[in-house]
């Protein structure tokens, strides 16, 4: 059942019904026991009374038997409850009361017994008066007893049956009223436009709904922030793409407008550079979005840095055919970190591309590792122009391109590297080397360091491919 209202209503009705039924059952049983006790006591009392009356000779049982029966004036339900028989011990009926049957009410000598006479059950108490040789039997028709109990129960159940529909109505209304805040919230959510991500009002809300509202508002906040970020990002990206596109168009117009083959060739070459740059920009935009949105693999697998960096270098060589040599420190092969490999690759790739793009033609890029204090860092050094000191704090901003920019630069590489590093729980540190060039470090806490297993099947292979 999906409706809380019907569910609550049904539950309340069933429990109320069950409570009523058990109350009635309980009352029935206890009434019955009580009635039996009281009536049994009356039987005893009546039997003894008759017995004592005979003993004191106040009633002559012989004569009493001759008294004609008085016709009962009315057949009230509880009339003639008791029947009395006086038997001589030799088995002759000495006397009997008005409604008493002629057959013996009981064969029992003394005490209680139950007898079936003419289809009716009698509860009988027998007293033997040995002095007079008489036996007094006082009986109670069980049907009367049952009717008494039934009447009590009927008196209870009838009002209950009448009240039950009224109760149902009241329960229905209460449930509806009780669920009002939920309905109100549902209505508020239903009528709100998709663009409205403002918080739901949290005043005067029942404590049960507060957590829901609070988590909804939290969700709204997060969606809003994500949407803002996306909007900013889209605007920024669109804006950043305009310049390279303007360059492409201008070069295309130059190529179209000139008859000089040298000018045309130069323009076409520029277009190729422009397209390369634009496609790199787009790839980086995707990387940035992925780094931002993708959930980092929290526990991360144990990865071997040498192996990952080796793969990266191969990949960069393929993309940049005229890249300067890249040297990898063999020590990287012994370092295992517990982290998300794809984010790590993203960070190192961007730092390394930066180094390659900024290197002088006769330069070399060195990738190494530094472990001291609490930190373990992957270092990437180039001997390019470095970054002017005043630009260092700004270079990790998105789309920031400093004075020493390259034709391929998008101003995104360092931003991506920093974002990926942060997602990994590390950070990027940049500094100019005293001998010229830039030293970029991807730093992690030593806690992420994972001990190399003693027998690692990968290890031999790693050694073989290192230092290419």
């Amino acid at each position: 059942m999906t409706s809380i209202r019907s569910r609550l209503f049904l539950i309340l009705m069933i429990t109320t019904g069950v409570v009523w039924m058990s109350a009635i059952a309980w009352i029935y049983l206890s009434t019955r026991a009580e009635v039996e006790r009281v009536l049994d006591a009356r039987l005893i009392e009546a039997a003894r009374m008759v017995s004592s009356l005979i003993t004191s000779q106040e009633i002559d049982p012989m004569r009493a038997a001759q008294i004609p029966a008085i016709e009962p004036t009315m057949h009230a339900s509880y009339d003639r409850q008791l029947s009395c028989q006086i038997w001589a011990l030799d088995g002759t009926l000495v006397g009997r009361s008005d409604a008493a049957p002629a057959t013996p009410l009981s064969d029992a000598k003394d005490g209680f017994s139950e007898t079936l006479i003419d289809g009716e059950t009698w509860r009988v108490y027998a007293v033997v008066n040995a002095d007079l040789g008489m036996r007094v039997l006082v009986g109670d028709n069980m049907r009367v007893r049952d009717r008494l109990v039934a009447d009590v129960i009927r008196g209870l159940a009838l009002p209950a049956l009448l009240i039950l529909p009224i109760l149902a109505g009241l329960i229905w209304l209460s449930v509806r009223k009780g669920l009002g805040p939920l309905n109100k919230m549902a209505h508020a959510l239903e009528t709100r436009p998709a663009s409205d991500l403002s918080a739901l009002p949290d005043v005067d809300t029942p404590s049960e709904i507060k957590p829901v509202i609070r988590s909804l508002n939290g969700l709204f906040g997060r969606v809003h922030a994500a949407r803002e970020r996306e909007r900013d990002f889209t605007a920024f990206a669109a804006h950043e793409l305009r310049t390279p596109v303007a360059g492409l168009k201008t070069q295309a117009q130059v190529a179209l407008g000139s008859d000089d083959p040298d000018i045309r060739r130069n323009a076409l070459r520029q277009i190729v550079v422009g397209v390369d740059r634009t496609s790199r920009l787009m790839r980086q935009l995707t990387d940035l979005t992925n780094a931002e949105r993708g959930e980092a693999d929290a526990d991360g697998r144990r990865v071997n840095l040498g192996k990952l960096v080796g793969q990266l270098v191969d990949d960069i060589r393929q993309h940049y055919s005229d890249a300067v040599p890249i040297e990898i420190d063999a020590k990287l092969n012994d370092i295992y970190l517990q982290l998300d490999a794809s984010l790590f690759m993203l960070a190192v790739r961007n730092l390394m591309e930066n180094a390659v793009l900024h290197s002088r033609n006769d330069g070399v890029v060195r990738c190494g590792v530094r472990i001291d204090g609490d930190a373990v860092a992957v270092t990437i050094e180039d001997n390019g122009p470095g970054i002017p000191e005043d630009e260092l704090p700004k270079v990790c901003e998105r789309f920031y391109r400093g004075r020493n920019k390259t034709a391929m630069g998008s101003g995104l590489g360092l931003a991506i590297a920093e974002l990926a590093a942060k997602r990994l729980g590390g950070n990027v540190s940049l500094g100019n080397r005293s001998e010229g060039g830039l030293r970029a470090e991807l730093q992690f806490s030593k806690a992420m360091l994972s001990r190399a297993p003693r027998a690692d099947p990968d290890r031999a292979e790693n050694r073989a491919i290192s230092c290419s």
Partner: protein, 221 residues
């Protein structure tokens, strides 16, 4: 016409330099605010094409400095940020025109011509002097209705002279308008171009002021 282009994107800068060169402009290209300010202090330009987002600051800073020195050189802002508030901010900062990226190369050239024409107080796009008619947009020159074919350099010299009839332009002033910094100037090129111009246009058009420079001839009548 000598134009300074300030743009940090290498491909676009190259495109503007070559493209505007083909349209008859002499283009100097720089890619930072610092270089732009330095260039504007050293040389006189007929117009500036200025990008707003530069690696070492905003192009508006360059514009501020230029206007602060009371230099009225027409400035065409060229930028990716072309929302209305951006345009207003740019124009209020002293820019003369605004063009959003990506743009059409021919439109940039046309706007630059319009800006310089306005700067010279002219109303017509064409320069007319006696029976000479020069159209900067099409780079066409005609004398008494007959087309005269001129080279790009010759056109630029005639254009400079016809911009300010009666004013004497020195050889170095003409060289400034003719060559960017990147180009080598041969010592006698101006003389060669003047010689060619005289041959094509006939005598009595360009007058040599000995020791000073050149100007359009005074009325002889």
């Amino acid at each position: 016409m000598r134009v300074l282009v300030v743009e940090d994107d290498a491909v676009l800068l190259n495109g503007l330099q070559v493209g505007l060169g083909l349209a008859g402009f002499t283009v100097d290209a720089v890619s930072t605010c610092a270089d732009a300010s330095a260039a504007l202090r050293i040389s006189a330009f007929d117009a500036v094409v200025l990008d707003l987002m530069l690696p070492d600051g905003s192009g508006l800073g360059v514009l501020d400095e230029l206007r602060g020195r009371q230099v009225g050189t027409p400035v065409l802002l060229l930028t990716a940020r072309d929302s209305v508030p951006d345009r207003i901010a740019g124009l209020d900062a002293g820019a003369d025109d605004y063009l959003g990226k990506p743009f059409d190369l021919n439109e940039v050239a046309a706007r630059l011509r319009a800006l310089t024409r306005r700067g010279n107080g002219g109303t017509s796009a064409c320069r007319i002097w006696r029976d000479l008619r020069l159209d900067p947009a099409t780079m066409a020159v005609s004398k008494s209705g007959e087309a005269v074919r001129l080279s790009r350099r010759e056109f630029s010299i005639l254009h400079a002279l016809m911009d300010r009839p009666g004013q004497i332009l020195s050889k170095s002033q003409l060289e400034d308008r003719l060559y960017g910094w990147q180009e080598d100037i041969e010592s006698n090129t101006i003389e060669v171009h003047i010689h060619n111009l005289r041959q094509k246009l006939g005598p009595g058009v360009i007058e040599t002021v000995r020791g000073v420079g050149y100007k359009l001839a005074e009325a002889t009548a």
